[in-house]
């Protein structure tokens, strides 16, 4: 079987399994994106291509990614490899105000840039009610302007290939789990150590671009500056300092199809993963996964950018259960032979471990 553009088109793009991570873009003139959709604008004549190789939906092999990132098999079947689980928040008031919850992703990105760890950061810019866009941030203003969660699938990695080709500065990437996995696949090919920090964002699903058309019909929400999806709640908006909400049942049909078969809601191959606590909106959940991640968090803490406290033990099962539920749904799809889950190469032992988790 070939591993190139035709396969990417047949198995991912035409099958509506593309997560719009953006990793396939920028390698060639054939693949382009608009409106969070990636497409070949002209038939590519090649049999093989980087586009296919870096696609997290062409195939995803958790075992080999674990080996690549952790150098060892995973130690946690549900949350992925990690050596620390925390509540964390930014100490800078601006960052907390602009960022999501405790502003940890924004704080870490800023620290990576300001400490010289990275020369540029790939982040997702825009306001919550307009289609977001990829941003190559090189300073505090650009990072702050892009702070806050966006709820659709921005191809943030679009500039990555070009940046790596041009050479030079080390890069930080803030992305959804699919984008972190893709960045690791890129890293496997590049092997130049220029991906200095991968900051993953928890993501249980992204919305399709139809969400913005939905919002266009809701003038009351168009000027929202923040959006949130509280656990088991409706979609919440902050508009002019006031709260508004949309019932989740109206939002659910707008979920991007590809996200239904995502096996990785917590960005298991990031250096650190950041998410909601589903508990205290002033804080983030912070998962430290790699030595590089540990180093980043410790240095950011020492520099006064970040405040970290232990994850409340009673909250851990709640987080694990949410992630496990999603994984089990996808395992069911995989095992019932649904083609949209066929990209996953999950060994039997790992499947069993996901199923067995928490049942002891």
């Amino acid at each position: 079987m070939g591993r190139g553009p035709s396969e990417l088109q047949a198995q991912v793009l035409a099958a509506d399994l593309c997560t719009a991570c953006g990793a396939c873009l920028g390698h060639c003139p054939y693949l382009k994106t608009l409106g969070e959709r990636v497409a070949f604008i002209h038939p590519c004549p090649r049999d093989e291509g980087r586009c296919f190789e870096v696609c997290p939906r062409a195939s995803l092999d958790p075992e080999s990614l674990d080996r690549q990132v952790l150098g060892a098999p995973r130690r946690h079947p549900v949350l992925g490899g990690h050596d620390g689980l925390y509540f964390a928040r930014a100490l800078d008031a601006d960052v907390r105000a602009r960022g999501q919850y405790g502003g940890v992703a924004t704080a870490l990105t800023l620290f990576a840039l300001e400490s010289g760890l990275a020369g540029a950061a790939l982040v997702t810019g825009g306001t919550p009610t307009r289609q977001p866009h990829a941003v190559v941030a090189r300073d505090r203003d650009a990072v702050l302007a892009a702070a806050g969660t966006k709820y659709s699938a921005c191809p943030t990695l679009e500039p990555l290939a070009g940046l790596l080709r041009e050479g030079g500065e080390a890069l930080a990437v803030v992305g959804r789990p699919c984008q972190v996995a893709a960045a690791r696949k890129v890293e496997a090919h590049e092997k130049n150590g220029r991906l200095a920090a991968l900051i993953g964002i928890f993501c249980f699903w992204a919305l399709a671009p139809a969400f913005y058309r939905f919002l266009a019909g809701r003038p009351d929400l168009q000027r929202a500056i923040k959006m949130d999806l509280p656990k088991d709640g409706d979609m919440a908006f902050v508009v002019n300092g006031r709260a508004a909400s949309v019932p989740l049942d109206e939002i659910r049909p707008l979920i991007r199809a590809a996200c239904q078969t995502c096996f990785d809601p917590t960005a298991e191959w990031a250096d650190v993963s950041v998410g909601s606590t589903e508990y205290d909106p002033a804080w983030n959940t912070l998962v430290v996964r790699t030595a590089r991640g540990r180093d980043l968090v410790e240095r950011a803490g020492a520099a006064g950018a970040l405040e970290v406290r232990p994850y409340p033990p009673e909250r851990i099962p709640i987080l694990e259960e949410a992630v496990q539920r999603k994984k089990l749904r996808v395992l069911d799809a995989l095992e019932s032979g649904r083609p949209e889950a066929a990209y996953l190469r999950i060994p039997a032992a790992q499947r069993d471990a996901v199923r067995a988790h928490g049942r002891a």
Binding site: P29, K32, G35
Partner: protein, 639 residues
């Protein structure tokens, strides 16, 4: 062409003219006062020759918005007693047909000649139509010149006929007359009198009661055709083998008879007045004939008419064998009624009639021709010119549709951009019909949502087409709220037919300034959201098309960039490949510039194994600069 040769008043002088110029000269010798045309190959040079002479010649010439308006304007002149001519290609006649069929009923006054140039073989047309059927349907007399010289004479004569019978008269030319050159003996120029006036006793009313009058007028035309100088017979009067030929086929027939040495046994009847048939003349010529061969373009029109005449008079004429398209003796590209009639076909057919054979070319020569055709000539597809903005437009439309991902349908129209249906336009166009049809079709597709249709619909039209026939379709789409995107490829001219001005250009046929009617002003006047974009800015164009595809209702996008062949478009710079940045096949782009985008100026340098820009062909549009993934192409200023 020499305007001098066309306008010189030197009776008896012999000059070389094209068929279209000869027709124009025929008008000038007939006292032409009003000429109106819509361009269309092979007819365009008739008005193109007249217009520069109009001011000094004291007559009026215009490029009309479409053929229907052209014939109506010419009819007005006729009603005012002025000799008038209208010129169009076969497809244009379809547009003009409604007023023409009415004019047949109402009658006309000043000589009104309708010049229609058919295009056998469709060298520069999308269809291959035979005007003679429509002349018959209109009940209007039709003349068919066989030579350039005769085209001039016939035009002059047609004005007299028109005034004698009170009807418009067709002059049916074909490509091999229109674009051929021949010697023409000039007659005296006749400036039009300045006596245009509508006599209030005159009435030109279309009413069914005039059907009968029309038949009487056609009978008068038939009577005049019996004496017309354009019908004649060559060869022995008692020959039982007869060729009936019209148009350039007559010259092929004469040549074939000579080559076959069959002059003693084959007679050739040349018919220049092909509808209505001069029946007395025909009857006289058929008497004694036992085998009759028809040579004509395109359809078997004379063949059918003559057979019908024979059936009516079979008892007197006796048994006869007919050779022609129906019998399979005369066929164009495979089928009867398809393609041009060539001298080879005529030679074979006359050979069959005479029972003789002769090769037009030696076998060795024929073999050599085949060899060159098959082996040594590179096959080349029809392509947009280097730097043509249409290529960029189709690239952007195609890209936007792929990115949109809803299987959008692109509907074509008539112009250079019809090539969008072919490889040079990335096979983007899925339909091609008549002028304006793309928008009418789009309007229809747009209303199929009720029936489950979810694909976006784009109509691609040209600027001249916009004025010609698109406006009513746009009104329809707007009125019926059909969610279509109409993309106007505005290259500031009627490019395909030779850069004639149109209502948007701010110029008249006679060269003076005209009020320009901007497309966007008209579209906005219809309440259509309208945007203007330079198609050479590819990314921006893709985004515009993409965004508009996703908006409701009918809307218009003007992709505006002048035709690179316009004299006013100066080439100030060209693109050049930096061979240190282009890494050839190692890039992995798959020769994106010359293979995918495929502008003819982008070539592959086999020696260097790099892309190269042909410095002669490049017009400096710069699109390839934006498309190259390695930024290996850059502008080079020209001194």
């Amino acid at each position: 062409m020499s305007l001098h040769a066309l306008s010189t008043d030197a009776p008896g002088e012999v000059v070389i003219l094209s068929g279209n110029e000869a027709i124009a000269r025929g008008g000038l010798e007939a006292g032409l006062g009003y000429a109106a045309a819509y361009p269309g190959s092979p007819s365009s040079e008739v008005l193109g020759s007249l217009a520069p002479l109009a001011r000094d010649g004291g007559f009026y010439a215009e490029w009309s918005t479409n053929e229907k308006v052209a014939i109506e304007g010419a009819a007005a002149a006729s009603f005012a007693g002025v000799r008038a001519m209208t010129v169009m290609k076969a497809d244009g006649l379809n547009v003009a047909l409604d007023p023409l069929t009415s004019l047949a009923y109402s009658g006309t006054k000043g000589g009104l000649v309708v010049v229609v140039c058919d295009d056998p073989g469709a060298h520069s047309s999308t269809k291959e139509e035979d005007t003679r059927y429509l002349a018959r349907a209109c009940h209007l007399p039709l003349l068919e010149p066989a030579t350039v010289e005769e085209a001039k004479e016939m035009t002059r004569w047609a004005f007299d006929l028109s005034e004698a019978v009170g009807l418009p008269v067709f002059l049916r030319s074909v490509t091999r007359i229109a674009h051929a050159r021949g010697s023409v003996v000039l007659g005296a120029l006749r400036p039009p009198p300045r006596t245009a006036r509508y006599d209030l006793k005159d009435r030109f009313i279309t009413l069914s009661v005039f059907h009968q009058v029309l038949h009487q007028r056609i009978a008068q035309a038939r009577a005049r055709f019996e004496q017309a100088p354009f019908n004649r017979c060559e060869g022995p009067a008692d020959a039982s083998r007869l060729v009936i030929a019209s148009g350039p086929s007559f010259t092929y027939a004469r040549e074939a008879v000579r080559l076959l040495g069959a002059g003693d046994e084959v007679r050739v009847l040349k018919l220049g007045t092909t509808w209505p048939l001069p029946e007395d003349l025909l009857g006289a010529q058929l008497r004694g004939a036992r085998q009759v061969l028809f040579l004509e373009e395109i359809e078997p029109f004379l063949e059918t008419e003559v057979k019908s005449y024979w059936a009516q008079h079979a008892a007197a004429l006796g048994p006869m064998t007919f050779l022609g398209k129906a019998s399979g003796h005369v066929a164009g590209s495979g089928d009867p009624g398809v393609g041009e009639l060539t001298p080879e076909i005529a030679l074979r057919a006359v050979g069959a009639l005479a029972g003789r054979e002769v090769a037009l070319r030696s076998e060795a020569f024929a073999r050599k021709v085949e060899q060159v055709k098959l082996g040594e000539l590179a096959p080349r597809a029809l392509a947009f010119c280097p730097g043509c903005p249409h290529r960029a437009s189709f690239w952007a439309i195609k890209a936007a549709l792929e990115l949109d991902g809803r299987q959008g349908v692109v509907l074509g129209d008539i112009g250079c951009y019809t090539l969008g249906a072919m490889q040079t336009g990335y096979f983007t166009l899925k339909t091609v019909h008549a002028m304006g049809s793309g928008v009418g079709l789009a309007s229809g597709f747009g209303k199929l949502d009720l029936l489950g249709f979810t694909q976006p619909v784009v109509a691609v039209i040209g600027d001249s087409t916009f004025y010609h026939a698109v406006v009513p379709a746009l009104v329809n789409a707007r009125y019926n709220d059909s969610p279509v995107l109409v993309v106007v490829l505005d290259n500031a001219t009627t490019a395909m037919t030779g850069h004639q001005p149109h209502p948007g250009t701010g110029r008249h046929a006679m060269g003076d300034l005209a009020p320009a009617l901007p497309i966007e002003a008209i579209a906005r006047g219809l309440g259509l959201p309208t945007e203007v974009q330079d198609p050479l800015q590819v990314d921006e164009t893709v985004e515009s098309v993409y965004r508009l595809l996703r908006t409701d209702g009918a809307k218009l996008l003007i992709l505006r960039s002048p035709c690179v062949l316009l004299p006013s478009v100066k080439r100030l710079r060209r693109a050049a490949v930096d061979t240190t940045r282009c890494i050839g096949e190692a890039c992995g782009c798959g020769r994106f510039c010359n293979r995918a985008f495929s502008c003819p100026a982008l070539v592959w340098d086999r020696a260097l194994e790099r892309a190269r820009v042909d410095e002669v062909l490049c017009s400096g549009c710069g699109v390839c600069i934006d498309l190259c993934p390695r930024e290996a192409i850059a502008f080079q200023e020209l001194a």
